[in-house]
């Protein structure tokens, strides 16, 4: 039949037959628009309530990308110091490159430098960075530019210059009475340092100028330690930012790293993909070895530490890795697993008999049923958080608190679910068993348990897996496990790579448990479960 063949009478008949389709009730017609309107109003209310636009505006997205990079990369942060007129390279303590690093992406060139020293005992800089430092050679004559810089400083009366220090440029200290006294020494030193962050990004640093090349653009920044200024010779490119005139310049090279050009030093952060020193920290004798060399030491090689086998050193190095704290992380992870396991198992064991007493068809005692059901509701409704805080007070921080919190909450949940399952069983089997004269216990054992056991265990398995996840969170309030460690690693905002490491471990554990629990459940109650 074609639509065109319909007469008005047919249409009317169809209309009459399907009245609700053509004239649906008001509720049906307006349910969607009403729902959408309510949702929109609610969203508007929430964005006002949480002042979301303000929060998003104030958000620090720059930091977000830094932190995200930290998840899978690390930085090496050399500081190039040139306040004295000589470039000097410092690495912070505990640099991932170990002590006395000498990476090949930092090149130095010797030349004549004029070193400004203040006549104070601490002014003598120690020659700590061995490979970078040339031996000081004093007694050279001052060159013109240095003199002029000093002149300028003197004219402007900059605080630590003696007023009379004009144009002399002599090695001897000025005959000034003011403190502190300043002297300049011209000698052989490191005149230039070139830092190569990646193929297109090079910082060329002299005590007077930092030349930065990145993405095909070059910017020359005049630095003046005495005046404490940084000035660009040309307009700054998009990857450089100077917040105030003469203030430090921030350089952002994307993933390769970043730098901060200050008047007296340039702080550089070069980013590497990967996790630094994941297996061995810089104190370990295995640090810096290739895996081949490590294997050789383990199997044949010479003993590394007196009185300790190489295997034991190997294990110690990994477990006590200062940066990654593998041993501690693994113990905390095991605590989390144990918390979920023991908590769920105990809850199952306690809720199982109680649920028989709470089910009205098994125990026909209304008062007992109601009391138990309200008790389960109470356990469940007092949040896991409250139980966790309570038991952390009672047992002290650690997995016992977590176990108890999960145990209490889940006893309530299991009791409720099991009692409901028991109330929905097929009565015929119980009747059959009762009719052949079985005792009460036998009725439960053969008439009830075979029906509900798969459901019980399936639910317990589901909760075991989901508790592994909740155990992470309640750990953060002190109830043991990896949660607190995660939280501590995040709070410093320094160790996002450790957070990533722990998250990966948690994901692996949850993934394994999820699959084990699903496999067991589908064996118990068939595929549809």
């Amino acid at each position: 039949m074609q639509l065109s063949e319909l007469t008005t009478a047919d249409i009317a008949a169809i209309r009459a037959r399907n009245a609700d389709a053509f004239r649906p009730s008001l509720w049906k017609r307006f349910a969607v628009p009403i729902g959408v309107t309510i949702a929109c109003v609610y969203i508007a209310y929430c964005s006002w309530f949480f002042s979301i636009s303000k929060v998003v505006e104030k958000a620090n997205w720059q930091i977000a990308s830094e932190y995200l990079y930290d998840w899978f990369s690390y930085e090496v942060r050399p500081d190039i110091d040139y306040r004295d007129g000589e470039t000097r390279i410092d690495f912070p303590r505990f640099s991932p490159l170990g002590e006395n690093p000498d990476p090949d992406w930092i090149e130095t060139r010797e030349g004549t430098v004029t070193v400004v020293t203040q006549n104070k005992p601490k002014a003598q800089q120690p020659a700590s960075q061995g490979s970078f430092m040339a031996s000081p050679a004093a007694g050279k004559k001052a060159t013109e530019p240095e003199t002029s810089i000093l002149d300028k400083v003197g004219e402007q009366g900059f605080s630590f210059m003696a007023p009379g220090a004009q144009g002399s440029g002599q090695a001897k200290a000025q005959a000034a009475h003011e403190e502190p006294q300043v002297s300049t020494v011209t000698r052989l030193g490191i005149a230039e340092t070139t830092v190569r962050l990646d193929r297109g990004t090079v910082l060329h640093i002299t005590p007077q100028m930092v030349t930065v090349t990145h993405a095909g653009e070059t910017v020359e920044l005049m630095v003046n330690a005495q005046e404490n200024t940084v000035k660009s010779r040309s307009a700054l490119p998009s990857w450089a930012l100077q917040k105030r005139e003469d203030a430090k310049v921030f350089l952002d090279f994307g993933f390769s790293g970043r730098a901060e050009v200050r008047a007296r030093e340039t702080k550089i952060a070069r980013r590497y993909l990967g996790w630094e020193n994941f297996f061995f920290d810089t104190r370990s004798p295995y640090w810096g070895m290739s895996w081949g060399a490590v294997g050789e030491h383990l199997l044949v090689g010479p003993q590394l530490v007196d009185g300790q086998s190489n295997w034991s050193v190997f294990w110690d190095s990994i477990v006590n890795n200062a940066e990654w704290q593998h041993g501690d992380v693994w113990i905390k992870l095991l605590q989390t697993i144990v918390m979920a396991f023991v908590g769920t198992l105990f809850a199952l064991l306690i809720a199982f008999p109680l649920s028989f007493l709470a089910a009205r068809n098994i125990t026909p005692n209304v008062v007992l049923n109601q009391v138990l059901k309200r008790f389960f509701d109470f356990l469940r409704s007092v949040d896991m958080l409250i139980w966790a805080l309570f038991f952390t007070r009672a047992f002290g921080p650690g997995p016992l608190a977590g176990i108890s919190a999960i145990f209490f909450t889940d006893t309530g949940t299991f009791g409720k679910l099991y009692a409901e399952a028991l109330e929905n069983i097929d009565e015929k089997q119980r009747e059959g068993i009762r009719s052949v004269g079985a005792s009460t216990m036998q009725i439960q054992r053969f008439g009830v348990i075979p029906q509900v056991l798969p459901i019980f265990i399936s639910q317990a398995l589901y909760f075991w897996e989901s508790n592994t996840r909740s155990a992470t969170i309640i750990g953060a309030v002190g109830a043991g496990g990896i949660g607190l460690k995660l939280w501590e690693a995040m709070r410093t905002n320094q160790d996002w790579e450790n957070v990533a490491y722990m998250v990966i471990l948690i994901l692996i554990v949850v993934f394994i448990f999820d699959n084990v629990s699903n496999a067991l459940r589908s064996r118990l109650i068939g595929k549809q479960g």
Binding site: I63, V342, L389, R393, F395, G396, G483, V503, I506
Partner: protein
Amino acid sequence: MNGETRVAKGPVPLHPAPAETAAYDVDRHYRELAAKRRLYSVVGFSALFAALFFSLWFANETNAGKFFDRLPHLFDFAGDLAPRDGWEIWRAMFDLPSPYFDGSLKYDYPDGRIYLTETFYIPEYIYKMVETLNIAVLATFVGFILGFCLCFLAASNITTSRWLRFFVRRFMEFLRAFPEIVIAGFFLAIFSLGPVPAIIAVAIHTVGALGKMFFEVVENADMKPDEGLRAVGGNWLERVWFGIVPQVMPNFLSYTLLRLEINVRASTIIGAVGAGGFGEVLRLSISRGHEAKTLAIILLLFTTIVAVDQLSAWLRKKLVGEHAFEMGV
């Protein structure tokens, strides 16, 4: 033991001819099976108990206080919670002036009040409760919208591309398994303190959890409306919107309400680890030893959770009838 005799005797009268050998074989077979089963049970239970005892030992070893040392002090804390008088709880909940006020934060706390007019204010705890509830509702709402959009791409009866399905399912699994606390911590670093990180963390988890529930519902949907729409030339969007959505919507809403119950708890916990809201007040109050305040907060939280659970159960019953869902399954 009853079963044994029943099985052994059962077949004998039915098949008289090979009775001798058959009965013997069945009996032996049953014995073997039973022995094997018993062995499995023994091994399984031994393994379980070994794991349990190791776990308990390990938990006790690594805990700050030892179980049996601390057990007598279990209720010390509960004893510490006893307020000075019963009305203190009431006064703490509604932030009414306390007769014991001594200038400290223990009894009165004008700082947290949200003044609506000169004299009328919302007590801090009520306000925080509303905040936590709003976190949960908003996160559930966002999770619902995104989970709704994703679930059809993961359902095998709607999306034919195997790779897309695989990718969407793994993605949702990832969202579900990713620890909420890390998301909250990360966004705390970006947004600084406030409830927005908690909303994001709970919402991301909800997307994964609801998406999984939803696509399972979609896969169990009746495909006849879809077939009809396909027959009259409906495109993918029309088929989903008019063929699938009307029949799955009640179940979707029901699961969402269930999730809302879970999210109210989750947002409290996330709050306690530093993302603001109700959990944080509770943690602070406990650590400062303000007993009446702590009890008031616990009472308020308990009431709220019970109220949300009851409301959600009632709505779910209206949506999908008596046959409400069991939790989790």
